[in-house]
Point group: D2
Chain length 328, copies 4
Amino acid sequence: MSENIKKIAVLTSGGDSPGMNAAIRAVVRTCAYHNIECIGVYRGYEGLIDGDFESLDARSVKGIINKGGTFLKSARSKTFRTKEGRQKAYENLLNENVNGLVVIGGDGSFTGALVFNNEFGFPVMGIPGTIDNDIVGTSHTLGFDTALNTVVDAIDKIRDTASSHNRLFFVEVMGRDVGHIALNAGIAGGAEEILIPEEDLGLERLVDSLNKSKTTGKTSSIVIVAEGDKIGKNIFELKDYVDENMEGYDVRVSVLGHMQRGGAPSCFDRVLASRMGVKAVESILDGETNYMVGLINGKMELTPLDQAIKGKTKINLELLRVSDIMST
Amino acid sequence: MSENIKKIAVLTSGGDSPGMNAAIRAVVRTCAYHNIECIGVYRGYEGLIDGDFESLDARSVKGIINKGGTFLKSARSKTFRTKEGRQKAYENLLNENVNGLVVIGGDGSFTGALVFNNEFGFPVMGIPGTIDNDIVGTSHTLGFDTALNTVVDAIDKIRDTASSHNRLFFVEVMGRDVGHIALNAGIAGGAEEILIPEEDLGLERLVDSLNKSKTTGKTSSIVIVAEGDKIGKNIFELKDYVDENMEGYDVRVSVLGHMQRGGAPSCFDRVLASRMGVKAVESILDGETNYMVGLINGKMELTPLDQAIKGKTKINLELLRVSDIMST
Amino acid sequence: MSENIKKIAVLTSGGDSPGMNAAIRAVVRTCAYHNIECIGVYRGYEGLIDGDFESLDARSVKGIINKGGTFLKSARSKTFRTKEGRQKAYENLLNENVNGLVVIGGDGSFTGALVFNNEFGFPVMGIPGTIDNDIVGTSHTLGFDTALNTVVDAIDKIRDTASSHNRLFFVEVMGRDVGHIALNAGIAGGAEEILIPEEDLGLERLVDSLNKSKTTGKTSSIVIVAEGDKIGKNIFELKDYVDENMEGYDVRVSVLGHMQRGGAPSCFDRVLASRMGVKAVESILDGETNYMVGLINGKMELTPLDQAIKGKTKINLELLRVSDIMST
Amino acid sequence: MSENIKKIAVLTSGGDSPGMNAAIRAVVRTCAYHNIECIGVYRGYEGLIDGDFESLDARSVKGIINKGGTFLKSARSKTFRTKEGRQKAYENLLNENVNGLVVIGGDGSFTGALVFNNEFGFPVMGIPGTIDNDIVGTSHTLGFDTALNTVVDAIDKIRDTASSHNRLFFVEVMGRDVGHIALNAGIAGGAEEILIPEEDLGLERLVDSLNKSKTTGKTSSIVIVAEGDKIGKNIFELKDYVDENMEGYDVRVSVLGHMQRGGAPSCFDRVLASRMGVKAVESILDGETNYMVGLINGKMELTPLDQAIKGKTKINLELLRVSDIMST
């Protein structure tokens, strides 16, 4: 274990996700366990530039493992995209004698960390925190599982009213570039169709499918739509199209929105956050840098940051097929 | 107790609300307790006209007290607004030897019941089922309490992400004519401002208030907006106005939508539904008609249907004041 | 409004209940609204004696309205039962220039407040915080509604497994002296029988009732038992008796325990806490003392503390009857 | 694909777990998708022997994906352990022209399936349904994830009251032979210590650890105890020991009990159930028998039943270490 590392900083960056607080707690307590100092950086890279730091010991993170959001707050920083901004951040870390940085966030945040390391050789380690599950190098990003449960709970509620009224609901869930939330929550919510960015079902086939559902005896239906669905129409346009091209359904729209990002993290996300925090800190102590910790085949593994930020995770084709079969 | 009543029908009508199943169960079991028959009518007045009936005994309503929606389904019926429609409904009830009708729904449904009684002298009894709490003659309509908890749970989640990012959120909740959901959920969700149909805050005062909140150290804010808020702008227009007239906030919008109508009913709504079902059936057995059962000062009371459908419940001024003080 | 009151102290005492944090917040913000100071006292009367105070302003109570428990912590204090202890507490309050004390707790806590006022003439105001709903002068104590939802959620889960296996479950809920939790949660959970301290069903009638349930086609059953049920047997003895005197059921026991006291408060409890906090502070400012604030017929009212601590609230006989009818 | 398979039967056996209904639904719909018949068997092997069958089509399983328990009910069957019982079951299946059997349950249920196949050559396929996660051949059994969330939610509530009162809580969770629930929920619930069947901490070390926690500033603590913890004392004896050998804590016990088996399945369990149901039916159609479907490295895989019923899954040593570090 590297004896040069005496102090580690941790920040959250980009969109928040459930489990970020649990990950901060894990970073802080792993530092305490190894008798090294830990400081929290407020507002992501913005706070790094402003020197908005707070010393954190094991007790200072009590009672946060079950809290949504991030008590260190998050932000997107334009200044960190400038050389001057990063220089200032570097100096702040040096002044505080910090030897390593844990960045909890998504691919944009990791890109910043990588640039920072390239310029100053400062050890950085990433923890993937985003509800979208769109990062290569981990089967689950932090917050994905919680967001799925939030979405499914909302779909269950919507189905209550849909089936009481023989209605067709379009429900929009998060996912601009990837359909993981839509696909998993759609299967779990018993959706008739799931529209995702990776696959263009086409409007006609959508209407065909819904018509077929009716003939098989379904009296209400739910269609899950990812924000970035490939059909290329927003959810209100979809409703209008179906209203015009289909009979016998009262069509409604529900956009789940930002509540998908909040809430107490699930058990899965809390355990994942704890494992990731331990792995991130101990990897820095082992002299590693420029990696992201992730869950691969059930184990904590490191993936180079430059691989993690390339491309997007692929949709699971088996799940697409399961979805088709389930809407029989 | 009237010995003429041998068979009672029950239906749900209008928008569904959590607790309707529990109320149906209570009606059915109270009939069973008094050894009279009970039939369920599907799809509200539509089913009454179509003769879509099912005989229900005590066991046939097991396992539904905790289910959202209504297994008898609900609908709005245009045909029941015609004399012919109601005549057909009456004949169907006569053919089935039904002597009384329990209508679970809102004021539109009660108006139908009243007209029906006026024409045919058929005994009718109303149970107020709507999440809006807008019916005179009961402190709580069925589903109101559950909807409040659903809304507050969503606000809690939104606050997680709002406070992680120093954001201002406009959150739209149900309530076209009355602000009960907005006011109660707003207080419980710690909202800075609550916009309701009963009170026009005005756009300038809204911005003033939000600016004042910032100066007192608030870094994120939530404004609850009832669908029918008096300012007369929809929630996206509100966002635009604030975006233009206020600095330092990242403003977002969330429309909670139909999930507010679903979900397992709260303990309060299940107990209320059970009490209302008992009272409704026993009032018919006592020879009463044209009443709505309701909770007044903690007791089950009858209110004439023609009073129940007149006007809307008033907003509680004490709550408005509490809301002001809490956003200090 | 009294101009003599410049500073109010608030403490939580006795068993904790959901909504206590929301009530503290309401007390603090109402003080801020009226431009008077507020201090929090840690660990109830113990902290009053130890001078364990913290100044609280409007911002210091942000983010707590939805948290269970009490951040001021609670305790039972033996020392406060001594004259010396109370003398010390009085001196601490004088030294801090505190002019009024809000006590959030149950009847034991109110007794302490009353004795304290009698000795030193110090203005005290009570807020009823307990899940048991056993205090005269309010239709709902703080935390009762939340506890009911927690219990009902647990019963729903237990019913899943009970009905999968044709089992009979005895479920113990809190309530040593009163059966309000048992009765309400029992109705809402669809219990076959509810054993409460106020009524002795008798073991034979219990077995008769369960046998009758079986003959009417019920394949699983849940019996809710208040801690202090009148039959005078603990829940394991009940199980043994039924095991010996009844056939065809696999009998199980579940004791819900302390989780009934925790959790995010319901909307109802948050609104109630906010109203009570406002009323408590403003009553002190109006020169009142020795009262408890409470909800009576939907309005905030004052009840003299000596009345509040006398006797227990009565069980609602209408609910007992509803319970009987529902288990038809 | 085998053209000999025309009809598949499905049953649930042993202790129920959340997700069983979702798995039944998946089996039924996959049959419908492949145009083969499906029948449900009530009460596990008991119903197989009694011929308690019901034909199930795609619509007959609507609305059950989110319901806890199993609508086919479950049971343990002594008769199926006899040759006569199994003979009768076999004849019933023959009479109904059933060609394959899907068994949803734990290792006891799988043993029965294996014996049945050995005797009659009847194709059987297992789906691992148990909250204990103790079956070799799948990283997650059906219901494990849901049970974890239920346990963690209860721990969160208990912590509210523990930290309000500076208490030490022993919380018993399910797990007679394996500590997976205890270990995961303990980490997620922020437990100080976790007592599991796989590891004997020893009473002295437990007290040492709790004393050390106090010196580091912890004022309340939660210890998770699996039913079958290795220390060899039940949870009440543990409390007594700590009461006698430790000062300064008010020690309490909570046994979570059967509610751990119920509740709406999590998104994870619903998706897993859907995948397993598809895989089980299609494996039978592919001519396979005597396998269990499972999740291995994120993919659906088959494991021979005789391997699945041998031994127990191992505890994850990394998690043990994470737990130690987190309680720093």
